[in-house]
């Protein structure tokens, strides 16, 4: 028994964190909000791919690193922490297995392919402007996934709360492949759920870090506002939520990596807890900042809006609780949440 990342996993995390600290400050998120296809955003992905991280889950024979979800989780936590405005979970986690099945794995590992997802085939896809390929279908790990080329497709923007969400309705994308293998479809879904959960952990930590720094420095009534018990307790509660979600995300990664039978259950648990934690952190962070949180000039809102977006994506917390309740044999009315 050992419940902790390995040195290799920590090293990979540190390299990725350093990359984002260097190349993905909040200004890059703001740039993406203005133009999601800005060349600087795509260049950012190339830097990431140069670490080999694009092919993290792809077989070494196809040029990937041949690693597993134990490595994926720390990488995606860093993606969340930086609020990277790129479809990284979709590309390196969701698409990895599908790409192998349709012969796109080498391209993906080489960093030449970015992927967006529309798993409900009706919902706008996030970050389609920075993607080359769209995966459609496979919601809940069931059904089949269609692989479409985005070149030449019409993208109609849908405005979202998250300015960097880059939501689009897509028409006219050419169907390239269909993948019906239930193992691959389920794996793609579970990895998406896991990836969103990991990003939410990173986002939560970033919001907490910003808030702790702010309340330690901001003075009112002659003292730092962080010395007030009301502020302390809100942030302590927020930290508790994150610190119990995080090992659960790690556990889900390990279960997927080991191919455990109940890996999907762990992924549900991880997403539900990480979503609720991120929403709690966002609320506490905004409240403890006060008015400055409410301006777009300050960075907090970038992370809060991304957190809300991801909390509602890949199955809401309520959706995952419904699924868990089913797995636990609890009878239902059958009118569970659909998203």
């Amino acid at each position: 028994m050992r419940f902790a990342p390995t040195t290799e996993q920590l090293d990979l995390r540190d390299v990725v964190r350093a990359l984002w600290e260097d190349r993905c400050p909040p200004a890059v998120i703001r740039a993406a909000a203005t133009d999601p296809a800005d060349p600087s955003i795509l260049a950012l992905y190339r830097d990431f791919a140069e670490l080999g991280a694009a092919g993290l889950l792809i077989d070494e024979r196809a040029g990937g690193l041949g690693l597993d979800e134990n490595y994926l989780v720390p990488v995606l936590i860093e993606v969340g922490r930086a609020g990277v405005p790129l479809p990284i979970t979709e590309t390196i986690a969701v698409a990895a297995g599908i790409a192998g099945a349709v012969g796109l794995d080498a391209d993906l590992a080489a960093g030449n392919l970015r992927v967006a997802c529309d798993l409900q085939v009706s919902v706008p896809a996030a970050r389609a402007h920075s993607a080359d390929v769209l995966l459609a279908g496979g919601w809940g790990g069931r059904g089949e996934i269609t692989v479409l080329y985005l070149a030449g497709a019409q993208l109609e923007a849908v405005e979202a709360m998250d300015p960097a969400a880059d939501l689009c309705r897509i028409q006219g994308a050419a169907v390239l492949h269909r993948v019906a293998d239930p193992v691959l479809v389920e794996q793609a879904w579970n990895r998406g759920v896991l990836g969103a959960a990991a990003e939410l952990v990173g986002l939560s930590r970033r919001m907490l870090d910003l808030t702790v720094a702010y309340v330690a420095e901001r003075r009112q009534f002659g003292v730092p506002i962080g010395s007030f018990q009301a502020v302390k307790h809100q942030l302590a509660s927020a930290l508790i939520a994150v610190e119990f979600a995080a090992p659960t995300v790690a556990r889900a990664g390990a279960a997927l990596a080991a191919g455990d039978e109940d890996a999907g259950i762990h992924a549900c648990t991880a997403k539900a807890l990480a979503s609720d934690a991120a929403r709690q952190v966002a609320r506490a962070a905004i409240q403890c900042h006060g008015a400055i949180a409410y301006t777009t000039e300050y960075d907090l809102h970038l992370f809060a809006k991304r957190a809300w977006f991801l909390a509602a994506a890949w199955g809401s917390a309520a959706w995952h609780r419904d699924r868990i309740a089913g797995a636990l044999g609890l009878p239902s009315s059958g009118r569970g949440p659909t998203q």
Partner: protein, 379 residues
């Protein structure tokens, strides 16, 4: 207990409803916190004024109808039920005006109130400064006496000034006696934003609208007629206004009853995918809106019968601001991923998050409740 309208109140309600039904724009106006939307809202405000609905509780001489508090509540209820536009003049009408009525000279009242009612003077609030938010008594902007010119010279910076970039006038506190203690030595000033030495910079709010401004003042001259209440008495004058802000005036029950009704309608509209979990939450939010109305009716009765609510208005502030958030959160939960798209509920959600922060943070309100309502010891 008598919770029915009198015959006169029924008539007032019918008249208000008829006018609103005939006049409320069918398409929502653009946000009043953008330059374009602000203009559209001003047109609306002037129509309200022309029909005598801008300031129903004010004296007729200032453009009102001498309406009772009950009638005011009825008007608000009808206003929100009709889905009428937000009041971009509210900082003047609901925050400054009560102070002018209580502390203003007759001349100040006669000059300023009719212009405010008519939407000619547009007032924004100059309380907060970069170093004085929750801790309002830390205000550092200064006013120095200019005896020769018969007035004061104001220097400093105000911030978080809602709609400041679109307004014409500012009311706020400035330090006139730097030697006095924190709450002392402040004076309440009224000034024209066109005065030389004033610079206004708008900046964006959370939801993307240019809803805030910073106001920089350098040696701005304000004549003695721009002092509201006594010199060095600004704190108590301002607290009366803050009391209004925290109390009834800003958040009438009509607003939350109407929001709860819209939430219920949303639930019915999405009935096919409404889970019992969200249904339970919607019912809970609807009940809280009822409770807010009931609490307010009791509070208005107290005011009408001269029992001051005092610190109990802090209960009000905490309750409506948290209700506003949970109501919107419930809507977003119902909408799922689509709740993240731009729309009235996602905008309303973002806006609601400011509620527990402005007009005295809910942390401060809970301190007030604990110390002044429950009588717990200060530290």
């Amino acid at each position: 207990m008598d919770v029915t309208d009198t015959e006169a109140e029924r008539g007032f309600r019918a008249e208000a409803r008829a006018w609103l039904t005939a006049n409320v724009p069918t398409d929502p106006l653009p946000s009043g916190d953008t330059a374009e939307g602000f203009r559209a809202h001003l047109d609306w405000e002037r129509r309200l004024f022309d029909a005598g609905w801008a300031v129903v509780s004010w004296p007729a001489a200032y453009g009102g109808r001498d309406a009772s508090l009950w009638e005011w509540l009825i008007f608000e209820e009808e206003y929100y039920r009709a889905g009428a536009p937000q009041r971009v003049t509210q900082n003047g009408i609901f925050l400054l005006a009560p102070t002018l009525f209580e502390f203003g000279t007759r001349e100040q009242q006669d000059t300023l109130l009719p212009r405010m009612a008519a939407g000619q003077d547009l007032w924004c609030q100059g309380w907060s400064e970069p170093g004085a938010g929750s801790d309002l008594a830390a205000i550092g902007s200064r006013a120095v006496r200019d005896e020769a010119a018969g007035g004061w010279r104001l220097t400093g910076q105000k911030t978080w000034t809602t709609r400041g970039a679109f307004c014409t006038h500012l009311f706020g506190l400035f330090r006139t006696d730097p030697a006095a203690g924190r709450h002392r030595g402040l004076t309440y000033f009224l000034l024209d934003l066109d005065s030389p030495g004033v610079t206004v910079r708008g900046f964006d709010r959370f939801d993307g609208d240019e809803g805030f401004a910073e106001v920089f003042l350098t040696d701005v001259f304000v004549p003695d007629s721009g002092v509201l209440g006594g010199v060095n008495e600004g704190w108590s004058v301002a607290m009366a206004t803050t009391g209004s802000e925290r109390g009834l005036t800003l958040r009438s029950p009509g607003r939350f009853l109407s929001a709860a009704d819209r939430l219920v309608a949303l639930g019915r509209e999405h009935g096919g995918r409404l889970t019992d979990v969200v249904r339970d939450r919607i019912a809970g939010e609807w009940m809280k809106a009822q409770a807010y109305q009931n609490f307010t009716l009791a509070q208005v009765t107290d005011i009408v019968e001269k029992r001051s609510p005092g610190a109990r208005s802090s209960l009000n502030k905490v309750f409506w601001s948290e209700l506003d958030i949970s109501l919107h959160e419930t809507a977003l939960e119902l909408l799922g991923p689509a709740g993240q798209w731009e729309g009235p509920w996602s905008r309303g959600f973002q806006f609601s998050l400011a509620g527990p922060i402005y007009a005295g943070t809910n942390e401060i309100q809970r301190n007030i409740i604990a110390e002044r309502v429950l009588g717990l010891p200060r530290r």
